[in-house]
């Protein structure tokens, strides 16, 4: 169990337990972008991501009175988010929704320049599509772990804590997720040459 503690978080939790309603608002404001972003990458579309992210905070609201102060609020919220998204993904309808995205729904955004060249834009779009294809083909558990590692930038220890799994499982799942992702992306690039 990870024991990285944040004094702000501890203060918010203590205030919440004492009945201060503004403490929960502070927690939501602090973590809303991280949780929404995780849900957005896990579920693949904005509407379901907002539903799931709201659900995460409501579950946290109900469970906070029992939250142990020696745990990390950050990874605890990630755990709720990962489980909520996995529950959403178990619904069969999500398999069809996690396909290639529409306009403005892509994963990759070129931040290197304000006006990218057409060639660079095309390459960026291709990478975007290949990544989406790859993530969509991964099992929800592998998808969760690769998003936490590659997009959210969590350490193995934080991932183990967030998903309540052992370090050994984290290592093997990350390796497997990358291998499967590579295969799908390679196949996609062969089928869609530049």
């Amino acid at each position: 169990m990870m024991t990285v503690r944040n004094d702000d978080d501890i203060s918010h939790i203590n205030r919440f337990k004492e009945g201060d309603p503004s403490a929960f608002e502070a927690i939501v404001l602090k973590y809303q972008d991280k949780i929404y972003s995780l849900c957005r990458h896990m579920l693949g579309n904005a509407h379901d991501a907002e539903d799931a992210a709201q659900e995460v905070f409501l579950k946290a609201y109900q469970a906070l009175p029992r939250f142990q102060p020696d745990a990390s609020l950050y990874t605890w919220l990630y755990r709720i988010a990962a489980n909520t998204c996995l529950d959403h993904l178990r619904k069969p309808v999500f398999e069809s929704l996690f396909g290639p995205s529409g306009e403005g729904e892509g994963l990759v955004h070129d931040r290197a320049s304000e006006a990218p060249s057409p060639e660079r834009l095309y390459q960026s779009k291709q990478t975007d599509r290949a990544l989406q294809e790859g993530l969509g083909k991964l099992s929800p558990k592998l998808r969760a772990i690769i998003i936490l590692k590659e997009i959210e930038g969590l350490s193995y220890e934080e991932i183990a804590d967030s998903l309540a799994i052992s370090m050994g499982t984290v290592k093997s799942r990350i390796a497997r997720a990358r291998e499967e992702l590579q295969k799908v992306m390679k196949k996609f690039r062969e089928q869609n040459p530049q």
Partner: protein, 151 residues
């Protein structure tokens, strides 16, 4: 055929190895074309992810969450889900009220002497009330029933 140390490529890339392990793996990868190639492939994948953006919560997200939390608060659990001490306190208040009622009733009848007590008891008797007003439909029905019984 893959190298037995290829499972170390991911932890190496993620900087999740100790210093000794890292040095040993780097020495190995210099002489192992399979691990070196896998490392390059995973670096390429990692850099593809580096262009992925983090999303911001939509406008008004926190307001919507707080509104739903307030709704939850309103629908808080019924009394039987209340903490044990609250339920004990409620039961104690109820017991006190009932006891006071009984004591007050006894005091009214026992504490008042003679004729007043008789009047008080009589005033509480239900015999003072008509079962149904005489001119009403109910009264007519009762009169018919009584007549029938007499026969």
């Amino acid at each position: 055929m893959s190298c037995s140390k290829s499972n170390l490529v991911s932890p190496y890339l993620d900087k999740e190895m100790g210093a000794d392990e890292t040095i040993a793996f780097e020495a190995h990868a210099r002489g192992c074309s399979r691990c070196a190639q896998k490392l390059e492939e995973l670096r390429a994948l990692h850099s593809a992810f580096s262009a992925v953006q983090s999303h911001q919560a939509p406008y008004g997200f926190s307001t919507r969450v707080l509104a739903r939390a307030a709704e939850l608060e309103k629908k808080k659990a019924p009394w039987y889900f209340a903490p044990l001490f609250v339920r004990f306190a409620e039961a104690a208040v109820l017991l006190v009220v009932v006891t006071l009622g009984i004591l007050a009733g006894n005091a009214m009848t026992n504490g008042v002497p003679g004729r007043m007590a008789v009047n008080m008891t009589a005033s509480l008797s239900l015999d003072l009330f008509e079962a149904a007003p005489p001119g009403s439909l109910g009264g007519a029905y009762l009169a018919l029933m009584e007549a029938g019984n007499e026969k």
